[in-house]
């Protein structure tokens, strides 16, 4: 499902070239889950962006669902994202002018789905927010906003779901509930899940874990499978 071969990422700064990622390799099959863990600034979010086709590596290749997205132009990657990928963000990224229902329906509407509102209502019901469909984000609690974001991500029926610190902005209790929801839906929908997290508990629930520090893969923990060391590591 996801094949990552020896990717690295450098950026130019005023103080010279900065290496953010270096020699990352991984392989993830359909329906599996992967946690990318590591301290702040270790390059987790950059890696997630590259895996999701939001950004390009400086070298190496990423293949999603059998398609090498690093060889594509932005339009090509956009097409892959549209068909394959869903997102849940740390800061929810709900559109403030849209109701919960409209927020969930928007990506479906943009794909031309005539049943967008119906599907959106179904997923809102799946996350337990059927009574909040007409509420605006500002009228919802943090946990509720993230549930709307989860409903939005799953409503598009993505093959792979990327989640960037999905519970980073929530208290522990609410975070747990969101995690449960994420994993339950993931299981039910058969989605491949890639998430970035600080939380040990959340990482533990994933089938695979990739630990990175200062942009490099560090020695994997015993329960991590299919992760191989890059040749430069």
């Amino acid at each position: 499902m996801i094949e990552v071969s020896n990717i690295s990422k450098q950026v130019k700064t005023t103080e010279g070239t900065l290496t953010i990622l270096d020699g990352i390799n991984l392989s993830l099959s359909a329906g599996e889950s992967l946690a990318i863990v590591g301290p702040s600034g270790s390059g987790k979010s950059t890696l997630l962006g590259i895996l999701a086709g939001l950004d390009l590596p400086s070298s190496g290749s990423v293949s999603l669902n059998g398609q090498d997205i690093t060889a594509m132009d932005e339009e090509g990657r956009a097409a892959v994202r549209a068909k394959t990928v869903g997102f849940v963000f740390q800061s929810f990224h709900l559109l403030p002018g849209l109701t919960a229902l409209e927020n969930v329906a928007l990506p479906l509407e943009l794909q031309g789905d005539k049943e967008a509102l119906k599907t959106a209502a179904y997923y809102l019901q799946r996350v337990g927010l059927e009574h909040r469909t007409t509420h605006y984000p500002r009228q919802l609690s943090g946990g509720e906003q993230q549930r709307v974001a989860v409903a939005r991500a799953f409503a598009c029926r993505p093959v792979i779901l990327f989640a960037d610190e999905p519970t980073g902005n929530l208290d522990t209790g609410t975070g747990e509930k969101i995690n449960d929801l994420l994993f339950d839906l993931n299981k039910e929908e058969g989605t491949t899940l890639v998430l970035v997290t600080h939380e040990h508990n959340l990482a533990e629930r994933c089938g695979q874990r990739l630990v990175i520090a200062a942009g490099r893969q560090v020695a994997p923990s015993t329960d991590v499978t299919h992760v191989t060391r890059g040749s430069t590591a």
């Binding site: 997630l48 999701a52 939001l54 339009e75 956009a78 559109l95 943009l110």
Partner: protein, 831 residues
């Protein structure tokens, strides 16, 4: 449809409010002004036709050719003949040199005659408006003829061989408005009585008028006929158009119209700035949404298409609302100025609507599109990282596009180069000054602000830290203030200029031809009525006999009446008030000791007579010949109702010739009979009555002024919108900072104090900078457009910073009060 749905949701979310209001206001201002201008234009054409009593007139010194009449009949064009001449009318032993006007049955072709059966009444309910003249055998006369001849309505007066029954008092003729030449009391009679009266013989001094108006053949038929007519004219004939007929009010109306145009143009620019600021603000808020769309796999081309479609919907929708609001507003304006407009105000054509719609779309293209153009290039990675932001189109490029849009709008809309350039120059200068001086002032403010208290220190360093935003805001503020200043100054000078017309005691009668031995008596008569004159001026009557040593030809005599009759020659040392030397030199630059005296001519007359600087003229005064050389030409101010002279000489030349005196004075309606006493005691004195036309001007001026006030209000609201747009630019950042300060326990006083200092400092600076641009633009406008003298406006430099500081300060603090009235978390969450 997806784009429309997204647009409606964004609107509902409140993010589009400023853009929509700016757009609606821009379109509304342009539509209302265009609608009003066009309807008034059409009304004025109708009005000015009524000044002429026709759509077109030929004035001639020879009888109207029968083929003209036949041609009009054949081409289905309405026509009427009018004769005017002076003749004695009698009743028993009394007589009067009356001003006779003989009219055909179809007179007046445009406008209405006003008549009454109650002499000297001003009660409008007793005055009847009709569209025909007296029947055969009847006459309608000026009220003052009744006491002059000791007659009553129903009596008969003698004119030549016939007797006419005085059946009505004529109060007003539509075509008497522009004429200052009616010396005797009016006797209006039927054209068909002329022959029987036997008073017109070859050589009689009669003015023939042939009135024409659009008839059954419509505008095309009329145009064809008038073209044919123009080819028939010879040196004896002169074509008079409606524009010339209403010369006496044309200036007021023209300036009123120009002001309307200026106000409208300023409104467009203001709404444009508001739109630019609002779009900038809107685009900044859209970057995350675009990143989100792109993270979902929406391609950049689709994002662009979505935003372009939304812009189009926005343009069409906003313009549609703007057109409606503009229509409503024009109706309000028309209600205000209705009195002086004809009862049936013509509907406007399609042009104002097209102008309004085009304004909306052009504003959007010039201001909104450049602001959102970069959005599709936004990287989807921004959903994960806040620091990934695409650079917007550079401020320089956006400014350039905005200026092009504004310039295009201004030129197209005003069709006036000076006005457009003046506004652009004023605004450009203000912007430049804001960027250069504004930055400097912010820097100085930061240096010295640090030495002041905490509020000042924080505020001045905030302003410096956010300097690019501060400058953009200042451009908005100063631009708005400058444009409002320009409008206010021009409006004030116009109203000041018109004030004399509004004054109740503006001179409304001229007394001419007062002989030296009569002067004392006439003065006493006037003084006995407690009336004051505008001073007495002496003049000598003389003929122009030679130009550069050559006698006046027959052709010249036919061409201009100044070659046929005696001219009024006067003298003065100083250039009279309202006069301006347009060519040559005034006395003070000339050597007056030479043998040949200099003469200064009114410039239009000089042009009509074909006279140029340096021409040698021979004048004959009572058979005595003297020479003068044309030394200068002057423009005159005809509006001030004080005596003006076509020919002026230096003192010491004419004093010894037989002279007469003239003056102007105000005679109130209840003392109008003074004119009769005066004429009875001094029959050779000429009285020119301007009271009716002055009343007309006065009512027009006061209505135009009210119209200007209403327009000013609309433009003010545009200005306030710009202020709102500029204030809201930095608001989320400010609220965030304030909320954080609040969280850290800062007092309400500190937070509001910082906002107050920041905004009022911005306002004061903007007001000061605005004064620079406004003063420059006003100087250009006054000189080139309104023909007003240049003057400094010290109050701009005082009021600009004061009003700017207060207005912007209040707006800014009002806007940011949320930061102290709501819990900080709520504020942060709502951002």
């Amino acid at each position: 449809m997806q784009a429309l749905r997204m647009l409606l949701r964004t609107w509902r979310g409140g993010q589009l409010n400023l853009i929509i209001w700016s757009l609606v206001l821009a379109v509304a201002v342009v539509t209302s002004v265009s609608l009003l201008a066009e309807r008034i234009e059409r009304a004025l054409t109708a009005q000015s036709s009524s000044f002429l009593a026709a759509d077109l007139v030929v004035r001639s010194s020879k009888p109207i050719a029968p083929e003209w009449v036949a041609g009009a009949l054949q081409q289905q064009v309405e026509s009427a003949q009018v004769l005017t001449f002076a003749s004695m009318v009698y009743h028993q032993d009394d007589m009067h040199l009356a001003s006779i006007k003989a009219v055909e049955g179809s007179y007046p072709l445009r406008g209405l005659l006003r008549r009454t059966t109650t002499p000297f009444t001003t009660d409008t309910s007793l005055i009847e408006e009709i569209d025909y003249g007296p029947a055969q055998g009847e006459t309608w006369v000026d009220a003052r003829l009744l006491p002059l001849l000791n007659i009553e309505l129903g009596d008969e007066i003698e004119l030549g061989e016939i007797r006419l029954t005085v059946s009505q008092i004529v109060v007003e003729e539509p075509d008497s408005g522009g004429s200052y030449g009616a010396f005797g009391a009016r006797v209006l009679m039927n054209f068909s009585d002329i022959e029987a009266a036997g008073i017109i013989i070859p050589g009689s001094r009669v003015t023939y008028r042939f009135l024409m108006a659009e008839g059954a053949s419509g505008a095309d038929g009329f145009a064809r006929y008038s073209e044919w007519m123009e080819d028939q004219l010879d040196v004896h004939d002169r074509l008079i158009t409606p524009d010339e007929a209403q010369a006496s009010i044309a200036d007021t109306m023209d300036k009123g119209r120009r002001f309307l145009l200026l106000a409208g143009s300023i409104g467009v620019v203001l709404a444009g700035i508001a739109l630019a600021l609002a779009s900038h603000h809107f685009a900044a808020g859209q970057t995350r949404q675009v990143a989100l769309l792109k993270s979902w796999g929406i391609a950049a081309s689709r994002v662009r298409s979505l935003y372009l479609q939304q812009s189009l919907w926005l343009g069409v929708g906003g313009s549609a609302i703007g057109l409606l609001v503009g229509f409503a507003f024009s109706e309000i304006l028309i209600a205000v100025v209705r009195e002086w407009l004809p009862i049936s105000l013509p509907m406007a054509g399609i042009r104002p609507w097209i102008t309004g719609l085009a304004t909306g779309l052009l504003c959007l293209a010039g201001f909104t599109l450049p602001a959102i153009w970069h959005l599709p290039a936004q990287s989807p990675l921004a959903v994960l990282r806040d620091d990934v932001k695409v650079e917007p189109v550079s401020s320089m490029a956006r400014g350039f596009l905005g200026v092009i849009a504004v310039a295009a709008l201004l030129f197209w809309y005003s069709n006036n180069v000076y006005l457009s350039l003046a506004i652009l120059a004023g605004f450009g200068l203000t912007t430049l000054a804001t960027v250069v001086i504004g930055l400097l002032m912010l820097r100085v403010g930061k240096t010295y602000g640090e030495k002041l208290g905490s509020i000042w220190r924080l505020a001045s360093s905030n302003l410096w830290r956010r300097r690019s935003q501060s400058i953009i805001q200042m451009v908005g503020f100063s631009g708005a203030i400058a444009l409002l200043m320009i409008m206010s100054v021009v409006r004030t000078s116009l109203i000041d200029e018109w004030r004399w017309q509004l004054a109740d005691d503006a001179p409304n009668h001229f007394l001419l031809n007062v002989a030296p031995y009569e002067l004392e008596g006439v003065r006493d008569l006037v003084t006995a009525q407690n009336l004051e004159t505008a001073g007495w001026y002496s003049m000598v009557r003389g003929r122009l006999t030679q130009i550069n040593g050559e006698g006046i030809t027959e052709e010249q005599r036919d061409k201009h009446e100044s070659f046929r009759r005696e001219l009024n020659l006067s003298w003065t040392t100083a250039l009279p008030e309202g006069n301006k030397v347009t060519a040559g030199k005034w006395w003070d630059e000339l050597d007056l000791s030479g043998d040949i005296a200099p003469v200064s001519l009114e410039e239009e007359l000089a042009g009509e007579l074909g006279l140029e600087i340096g021409d040698l003229l021979n004048f004959s005064v009572g058979g005595l010949i003297f020479q003068a050389r044309v030394a200068s030409t002057r423009s005159l101010n005809w509006d001030n109702m004080t005596p003006n002279f076509y020919f002026l000489f230096p003192e010491g030349l004419l004093e010894n010739y037989p002279r007469t005196s003239m003056t102007s004075l105000y005679i109130p309606p209840q003392q109008k009979l003074l004119v009769n006493d005066l004429l009875r005691q001094y029959p050779t004195v000429q009285v020119i009555e301007l009271d009716k036309i002055i009343d007309r001007i006065r009512s027009i001026v006061s209505q135009v002024t009210s119209g200007l006030e209403v327009m000013t209000l609309l433009i003010l609201s545009c200005g306030v919108l710009v202020m709102f747009a500029a204030v809201s630019l930095s608001m989320s950042e400010r609220l965030q900072e304030s909320a954080i300060l609040r969280t850290l326990g800062s007092s309400r006083r500190l937070i509001l104090g910082i906002q107050w200092v920041e905004f009022s400092v911005l306002g004061v600076m903007a007001g000061l900078l605005a004064a620079i641009g406004a003063e420059a633009a006003v100087a250009l406008l006054q000189h080139y457009m309104f023909d007003l003298p240049f003057s400094w406006h010290p109050w701009l430099w005082l009021m600009g910073p004061l009003a700017g500081g207060l207005l912007v300060g209040v707006l800014g603090v009002g806007y940011s009060r949320k930061a102290v009235t709501q819990p900080p978390l709520l504020v942060l969450n709502s951002l």
